[in-house]
C-alpha cells in the first residue's frame, strides 16, 4: 500500500515538526479523521457495520458516507457473523474492509469467523490467500452503567488466537495513528476503542496522515520503583493511583502503555522490571484468563531473579460484568494504590 505521505512516529510526537496546525479533537473525532484519511488514500477501503451510515452510535463515522459515497460507507443488517464473514471475503479479494461491531459485547456471534477464518487464512492456504486489509473496530470497556452487555473487554479471547493482532489506543493522538497503522498493516487487526473516552479524552491531534508503530509498547512515565502496565482507558485510572502513591509512599512509578496487546512487546516490560524489580498489571477484564496472567508468566520466566515482590494483578472480579455493583467490581485507583503499597512494602526476608 502506498504510504508516501505517512510520517512514522519514531520519537515523541511533540518533537516532530508538523506542517499544519494540530486540531483539538476527542477520541471519536480522531477515529473519524483516521478513517477519512484511510478512505481517501486507499480506493479499496470500505467501512460498514450497524448504523454507520448516519454516523454510528458513537459518531465515529460522521460525514464519511457523504464524502466517500454510499458504496463505500454503508449499513449492514443486524448480523455480526454475517458482517465478519462478509468482511473476510472482501479482504481475501484484496479490499481493505473496516468492519465495525457496534459494541465489543456483540462480537461473539462473529467469534467463529474471526478466530477460525480470519486468523488462519494465510496460514492454512500456505500464503496463497490472505486477509491483509481486514480491520475490525469495536468499542469496549466499562462506562459506569453499561451493565452486562455494554461493558465487556474481550481482548483476552482474541489474544489467545495467533494470526490476529489486537490494538488498544489510549488517547486521540494514539488512536488516529494506531488505527491508520492497523488498517494498513498486512494482517487482520482487532482495534478495540475505549468507549468511556470517546467524548472525554481531548487532545491536539495532528491533521496530517501519520501512523504509530504496532507491536511496540511505550513508557509514558518514567520511574524507578514500580513498573505499572496497562492499556486503553485503564491508564487514566493508573495515573490517579500513581499520583496517590508518589505522594504518600514517596516513590516514583514507571507507567507503560502496551498499545498492541498481540503481538506482545514483552521486551519493554522486561527492561523496566529489571530496573524496578516490581510489577503491577491492571485491566478491567476478569482476572482468571486475563492478559495480565500471560504478562506475569512471561516476566517470571525472563526476569525471575530481578523480581523483588510477587507480580500484582489488579483486575475485575471473576464474575459477569455487573450492573449495580460496577463500582465494587471495577479495578479503580484505590485498589491499584493498595496493590502498589503492598508491592513496595513487601518484605521477602519474611
Amino acid at each position: 500500500m502506498e504510504n508516501n505521505k505517512v510520517r512514522w512516529l519514531k520519537m515523541k510526537w511533540e518533537q516532530i515538526y508538523w506542517e499544519e496546525q494540530p486540531k483539538k479533537m476527542n477520541l471519536f473525532t480522531a477515529i473519524n479523521d483516521a478513517m477519512d484519511i484511510a478512505l481517501t488514500t486507499n480506493p479499496k477501503a470500505v467501512l460498514f457495520g450497524e448504523d454507520v451510515a448516519f454516523g454510528g452510535v458513537f459518531r465515529c463515522a460522521t460525514g464519511l458516507r457523504e464524502k466517500h459515497g454510499s458504496s463505500r460507507v454503508f449499513n449492514t443488517p443486524l448480523c455480526e457473523q454475517g458482517i465478519a464473514g462478509f468482511a473476510i471475503g472482501m479482504a481475501a479479494q484484496g479490499a481493505t474492509p473496516i468492519a465495525e461491531i457496534q459494541f465489543a459485547d456483540y462480537i461473539f456471534p462473529a467469534f467463529d469467523q474471526i478466530v477460525n477464518e480470519a486468523a488462519k487464512y494465510r496460514y492454512r492456504s500456505g500464503n496463497e490467500f490472505n486477509v491483509a486489509g481486514l480491520t475490525f473496530r469495536a468499542p469496549y470497556g466499562a462506562v459506569g452503567h453499561g451493565g452486562h452487555y455494554h461493558s465487556q473487554s474481550p481482548e483476552a479471547y482474541f489474544c489467545h488466537t495467533p494470526g490476529l493482532k489486537v490494538v488498544v489506543p489510549r488517547s486521540p493522538v494514539q488512536a488516529k495513528g494506531l488505527l491508520l497503522a492497523s488498517i494498513r498493516d498486512p494482517n487482520p487487526v482487532i482495534f478495540l476503542e475505549p468507549k468511556w473516552l470517546y467524548r472525554s479524552s481531548i487532545e491536539q491531534v495532528p491533521v496530517e496522515d501519520y501512523e504509530i508503530e504496532l507491536g511496540k509498547a511505550e513508557v509514558i512515565k518514567n520511574g524507578e520503583d514500580v513498573t505499572i502496565v496497562g492499556w486503553g482507558a485503564q491508564l487514566l485510572v493508573l495515573e490517579q493511583a500513581i499520583t496517590m502513591a508518589e505522594e504518600k509512599l514517596g516513590i516514583t512509578c514507571e507507567l507503560i502503555d502496551l498499545k498492541t496487546l498481540l503481538p506482545l512487546d514483552i521486551d519493554t516490560i522486561i527492561k523496566s522490571v529489571k530496573k524496578t524489580g516490581k510489577l503491577l498489571i491492571s485491566h478491567e477484564a476478569p482476572k482468571t484468563g486475563g492478559l495480565a496472567g500471560e504478562i506475569a508468566a512471561q516476566i517470571q520466566e525472563k526476569a525471575f531473579l530481578h523480581l523483588e515482590a510477587p507480580i500484582a494483578r489488579v483486575c475485575g472480579y471473576d464474575t459477569p460484568f455487573p450492573l449495580i455493583f460496577e463500582r465494587f467490581y471495577f479495578p479503580d485507583a484505590l485498589k491499584n494504590f493498595e496493590a502498589i503499597q503492598k508491592l513496595v512494602e513487601y518484605d521477602f526476608s519474611k
Binding site: 448516519f54 452486562h148 483486575c315 464474575t319 449495580i324 479495578p331 493498595e338
Partner: protein, 415 residues
C-alpha cells in the same frame, strides 16, 4: 473514582445528515408501506368492527377489515370473542403498563435508572392479546424490551421499578436491570440483551415442553432488526424438523434502532421468512386481533407445528433512552399513528362505542392506576440495595468456590 458519564442522549445530527437518511419532513405517513396495508378500524370512512353482544355477556367481534394475512397456512377467521370484563381488563392492564413506562422514563431522566432502557409505549396490545390467549403454563421469552411482558406474566410495578433502580426488591434481585426481567413461576424466560439470542433458546424451551408431553407452547419474540440474525434461521429449521410447539413472534415496529425495515431487510414480509415454517400476520395495534391470532396460533403450534406470527406494531419512543427517535422518522409519523391506531384508545373506543362502560369509569381506572404506580415508585425508591455479597453470588451453584479479588487477602470464598 473519576467522574465520567456516558451521555444518555448522545445522538443528534446536523440537518444534512438527517435529510439524507431519514424520512424527509414532507413525507407523510401513507408513504410507509406497512401502515397502508393494515386497516384502521377507528377511522370513520373504513368498515367498522361489528360487535354482537350475547345475553350471557359474551361478545363476538367481526373485524370490518380483515387484519390477518397468511403464508403457507390458513389465516384465522377475522373474528374475535371477548367480554366486557376482558375489555376492561385490557384497558386496565395496558394503561398500567403505559404508566410504568412513563415512570421509568422519568426515573431515567432523573438518573435513578442507569444503563439502558427500552420502552414499550405503543406495543402494549401484543402482550395484552397473547396473555388473554395463553395460560401461565405456556412459556414466554423475549428480547430486551421486556417490561410489559414481565408485567403481563404477573409481575408488579414495584418489582419492575425496583429492578430498574437496582434495588434488592427487583425481580432479578437488582442484578439484571431493565433488560433482564425474569419470572420463574410464570414461565417467563426474560429479558435477553443480545439480539436474536432468545430465538434458539425459545425453540429449546418448546422442545422440553414437547418432551415432557405438556399441552403448552413457547412464544419466542424478536424484532424486525433481529429477523436478520442467522441463529433465527437455525431455530426455524430445528423447529420445523422436529415439529416443536413454538410460536415465533416477530414484533415488527418498522425500525431496528435507527434503521428502517426496508433498509435492513431484503424481504420485509417477516411472516414469510420462515420458509418451511408457515406464518400469519396480525394487526398488533388492535388487542382483539392479537388475542384471536394467538388463540389460533397456539392451536396450530400444538397440532400442526411451529409458525411465525408477525405482529405489525409501532413504538412511540426511540429505541432506547439515548435515542430521541426522530433522526430516522418524523414527528408527524409518530403523531399520526398515536392519533389513529393507539391500542389503548382503540379499547376505549370499543368500550364507549358499544356502551360497555362510561367515560367516568375509565377515568376512575386511569386515576387508580396513576396512584398505584406512584405508590410503587415511592416504595421502590425506599427499598434496600442488594447486599455486597450479591456481586459474587450465583456465578456457580457450588458454595466454597473462590472469587479472586485484586489481591490474595481480599479474595473471597463463596459460602
Amino acid at each position: 473514582m473519576l467522574a465520567f458519564r456516558f451521555a444518555p442522549r448522545g445522538i443528534s445530527h446536523t440537518p444534512i445528515t438527517r435529510r439524507s437518511f431519514a424520512t424527509s419532513a414532507t413525507k407523510e405517513v401513507k408513504d410507509v408501506k406497512e401502515v397502508k396495508e393494515v386497516p384502521t378500524a377507528a377511522a370513520g370512512n373504513k368498515k367498522k368492527d361489528k360487535f354482537t353482544i350475547g345475553k350471557d355477556g359474551k361478545i363476538k367481534v367481526e373485524f370490518g377489515v380483515n387484519p390477518y394475512k397468511s403464508y403457507k397456512m390458513d389465516a384465522p377467521a377475522p373474528v374475535a370473542t371477548t367480554s366486557k370484563e376482558e375489555l376492561l381488563k385490557f384497558f386496565r392492564d395496558m394503561t398500567l403498563w403505559r404508566r410504568v413506562e412513563i415512570a421509568a422514563d422519568n426515573l431515567y431522566k432523573a438518573k435513578h435508572v442507569r444503563g439502558f432502557l427500552h420502552l414499550y409505549n405503543g406495543q402494549e396490545a401484543i402482550v395484552a392479546g397473547y396473555e388473554a390467549a395463553l395460560t401461565k403454563d405456556d412459556h414466554v421469552i423475549t428480547a430486551y424490551r421486556d417490561h410489559a411482558n414481565f408485567m403481563g406474566r404477573g409481575g408488579s410495578p414495584f418489582e419492575v421499578i425496583s429492578e430498574l433502580i437496582g434495588k434488592a426488591g427487583g425481580c432479578s434481585a437488582g442484578k439484571g436491570g431493565s433488560m433482564h426481567f425474569y419470572k420463574r413461576d410464570a414461565n417467563f424466560h426474560g429479558g435477553n440483551g443480545i439480539v436474536g439470542a432468545q430465538v434458539p433458546i425459545g425453540a429449546g424451551v418448546a422442545f422440553a415442553l414437547k418432551y415432557q408431553q405438556k399441552p403448552n407452547v413457547c412464544i419466542a419474540m424478536y424484532g424486525d432488526g433481529a429477523a436478520n440474525q442467522g441463529q433465527n434461521y437455525e431455530a426455524f429449521n430445528m423447529a420445523a424438523l422436529w415439529k416443536l410447539p413454538v410460536i415465533f413472534v416477530c414484533e415488527n415496529n418498522k425500525y431496528g434502532m435507527g434503521t428502517s425495515a426496508e433498509r435492513s431487510s431484503a424481504n420485509t414480509e417477516y411472516y414469510t421468512r420462515g420458509d418451511a415454517v408457515p406464518g400469519i400476520k396480525i394487526d398488533a395495534m388492535n388487542v382483539l386481533s392479537v388475542k384471536a391470532g394467538f388463540e389460533y396460533a397456539k392451536q396450530h403450534a400444538l397440532t400442526k407445528g411451529p409458525l411465525i406470527v408477525e405482529a405489525e406494531t409501532y413504538r412511540y419512543m426511540g429505541h432506547s433512552m439515548s435515542d430521541p427517535g426522530l433522526a430516522y422518522r418524523t414527528r408527524d409519523e409518530v403523531a399520526a399513528i398515536k392519533a389513529d391506531r393507539d391500542p389503548i384508545d382503540k379499547v376505549k373506543f370499543y368500550l364507549l362505542e358499544n356502551k360497555l362502560s362510561t367515560e367516568e369509569e375509565l377515568k376512575e381506572i386511569e386515576k387508580e392506576i396513576k396512584k398505584e404506580v406512584d405508590e410503587a415508585q415511592k416504595k421502590a425508591m425506599e427499598g434496600d440495595w442488594p447486599e455486597i455479597k450479591e456481586l459474587y453470588n450465583n456465578v456457580y451453584t457450588e458454595k466454597g468456590y473462590y472469587v479472586r479479588h485484586t489481591n490474595l487477602e481480599d479474595s473471597v470464598v463463596v459460602e
